[in-house]
Amino acid sequence: MAETTVHEYSILNTSPVRKGVPEKATGQARYTADLSLPNMLVGAILHSPLAHARILNIDVTKAKNLPGVRAVLTAKDISHIKFGFSPARFDETALAIDKVRYVGDEIAAVAAIDEQTAKEALELIKVDYEELPALLDPFDTMAEDAPLIHKEYARNICHEVHNEVGNADKRLAEAYLVRSDRFMNKKTDGACLEPYATLADYDLSGHLTLWTSTQVSHYVQRSVAMVLQLPLDRVRVIAPYVGGAFGVKASAGSHELIACMLSMHAGCPIKIVMDREQAFWRNRARHQYYHEMTIGVAKDGKILAHKHLAVIDGGAYSSLGVITVYYNGSLLHGPYAIPNIRYDGYRIYTNKPTSGCLRGHGGVSNRACFETQLDLVAEEMKMDPIEIRMKNVLQSGDTTKSGYHLSSFNVRECLQEARAYSGWGKKKNKLPKGKGIGVATSYFLSGSGSANYHTDIPHSTVVIKVADDGSGIMLYTGSNEIGQGSDTVVAMIAAEVLGLDLNDVNVISGDTGLCPADLGAYSSRQTLMTGNATKQAAESVKKQLLDEMARRYGIASSEFELRQGKVYGTEKNREVLDNIRNRYRTEHRHFTNLPKEGPLTFAEVARLIYAESGSILGKGTYSPPELQYSKEWKGAVIGASPAYSTQTCIAEVTVDFETGDLTIDHLTLAHDCGFAINRKAVEGQLEGSMCHGLGEALFEEMIFDDKGRLMNASLGDYKIPTVLDVPEMKAIIIESNEPNGPFGAKEVGEGCILPVVPAIINAVRDACGVVIMELPISSERILKALKAKEASGEALYIYKPPASADRIIDQAAKLSAGAATR
């Protein structure tokens, strides 16, 4: 049974009250926009109204002269040092230098006494543009003679990847069944409830402090120091409470640099709070993908070969996009065994907001296409969709063709448990017309093997300092709590190792000035990496305590046990115990709740050691070990990870045949997280992902007009699920005891969104015989498909992407024919 694991942990695998949650529930939690400093000014940013234009002149005279305005910046006032995500592809500047590349590109900034004045000043800035052709359609953008968005990149190809392992074409020719399908999604947004906010304070001693809503304090610190040419130790980035990130806050943003620059110019703190519209323009979320996939299976349903051609619309800048092209290929190397794979992927620039990474980075759209296609194969072969998956899945100990070693991988259990809970056996092929059930399975990495810059530093370092009076510990971690519960995970690990109450573990995180470096919350790395570092730090503290006790008692430290705030084993030597206890009680005379009988407490032991040898500090680090990946598969290193999660989603839906209306009736999601450190937090990630996946399947899309302007830059028009759109859901925790993870834990948070979209597509097919290959699955598309199906008289109708998508894919196919894969 999936629900319980037999173990002897005190706190791990339970659901304690999370760190920071009471503060959030009482309004005490302060997010960046809630912060204020004396003498603070408000910053505001001017954005380009044009998708592609040369900046001829910016006249800021009137703005500068508006009473209450203290600083106005344009490109000529600021550093032109470029930043971004990967150093090899830094292509952003805080303000546009000579041209703007999308509607929303930042061109000027002001600092004023209040928001009203700042916004009025923006309106007084006069910009002369020379409009350039706006490249919005990848077909036009990739044309041979297309104008260049970035002059270095011919055909506006940001990056291309061509990979092969085995011989896909050959095996396809021999396969029992081959099918090719095309699929597309739309650009989506993170839609975090908290848009962006940042508060920069450059003081007269040359120290810069930046409070900012981020998921990567470390990377922001490095970017700020680099761009502003400040020594790293003079730049301190602090992440206060963060209202959601999901990937969009995984790199430094122009707004952060602008706030710092304004602060340096004006000599006082500057706060910039972006509104919802600006948040949409910044975007940095999921790319738009156009896929063509070909699959070949043997007569018994075993997958023989898979070919994947993809064009990825990246928007105006690179951001994480280079990684995206690789993930888009390698995240299909599991969870099934596929011996022959060919991948051709292009990421291209367009004059639209920049895509970066969003939950399930590089694994959502491709997985939707693959799982939908696999179901079509199953249907043709008259195999049950779960059966065909069971036939093909890898297992713990296997290696993918990209060379990824699946050290723990309970995909079978995910499939079985989801199947059992959802009642698949009683429902599949037995539901009334209009009702359907669908399944999908996926896998994801648990932290990237490489940092985003070439470095040998540990990916996570954690320092634990025992409070000098022993009453608890301070746990310093540069990791980022963004609502996913990472502070609680590390606290629980430390509490478990040291036998402490969770309330006695104080976590200080996300502050580059106080905490040792951690790469931050992205690629779902923190539970495994920061968790491992925490375990090591806690064990170091434990060792120091127990070694000291061993020295005093003359018995092996293995005879002691730290549990419930006590050091068991110390009660055996009464004389030493009484001596230590009396010292402690004397020192704490008049304090209440002093220890009386029984073994020594953690506090008494820690206090003693502090008195005699000084502060007790434990340090733990984690860097991914030498990871396995195939040298045969170009770029496989991107995607190599210490561990891989896997997950299965089953969706139950109802389709209204007359309107195409789609209701999701139930969602089940079983996710192998290795070991659930905090059970309710793991469930929360699964439930959140089911909702998020539902949104991407049914509603979410960024809609642009023919001038590249975003038409739905509001939470009314960009539709994330409301409470009435989300059905009852079941989150199932599967555990597989990951050897590379702390206490067997690996990621949860990203993998779990991957199977949701295709489970829904497959359920729709089951309900009414139409397969929608274009996201979002709108009721209009479903109705169109139903009518076409009826007209055709066939049992199945595939609603394909439009001709505009076809020509994009065809063009890429031409380009990639003959491209070298080695």
């Binding site: 309107t659 509603f699 009314g716 759109d725 169109k784």
Partner: protein, 292 residues
Amino acid sequence: MILPRFKFIEPEALEEAFEIMEQNKGDAAFLAGGTDLLVNLKKKVVNHSVIISLEKLAELKNIGYSNEKGLTLGAMTRISDIEESPVLREKYPILAIAASKLGSPQIRNRATLGGNICAARPAADTIGPLIAYAATVRLVSKDGERRQPLEEFFLGPGKTIIKEGEILADIQLSTVPANTGASYIKYGIRKAMEIAMVSVTTLLTFGNASCQSARVVLGAVAPTFIRSPQAEDVLSGKIFSRDIAGQAAKLAAGCCLPICDMRASAEYRRELVEVLTRRSLLEAASQCVNFS
């Protein structure tokens, strides 16, 4: 997003309101619930330097019902009060239902009936049921007052027959005849927080086993709310049946002028009108008669 600078004035009597409006012709707008105007000001869709609040005008808050005279709803009646009113739920149920689908509880606690009407959106929630119930509006100005059937109140999206200096005071609905069934169906992309992609309101009054009168009102598929006289004609005077409902629905679909926008295509809206009109008619009829 911040509001532009404006002067906020809150008159305590209608005469005062008229005067302030006159003095600030062209610059001023009336503020009812604010859930529309304040959004438009923030988005810079409109710009007004003077905002005149209607909150303190008692003349706009008359609410009354009698079996003889019917219902009077002051323009400043909150949508949430309409949703929760026992009288409305019993006597004018589809108005209460439509109110319950408007926005969210937070919006409904501020939005007003008058505001919903005067914003004149083709997708507004209360207008379909109001027209179905043959509502009339009373407009007041310093020169007096006039009444107008709500059906003739709209000129286009955001445009009404309200003259400069006039304020919508209240809405009147006459008593609903016995044996009347009514239905309001709103379709949107999500199941909440939606501006209707299509809305259909139907009201059928039966007598002597046949449908005596029918009102079919379509929203979000033309520049204003429209009735479908063709659909109504095919229903009136006939014994109701699924067939007739189907015919009426086809006719309703034929008479609408939907647009294509980022929510849906015109064609899909037309298809929805047919399906939802048929369903709405069946729902309305089932409240009064059995049919085949």
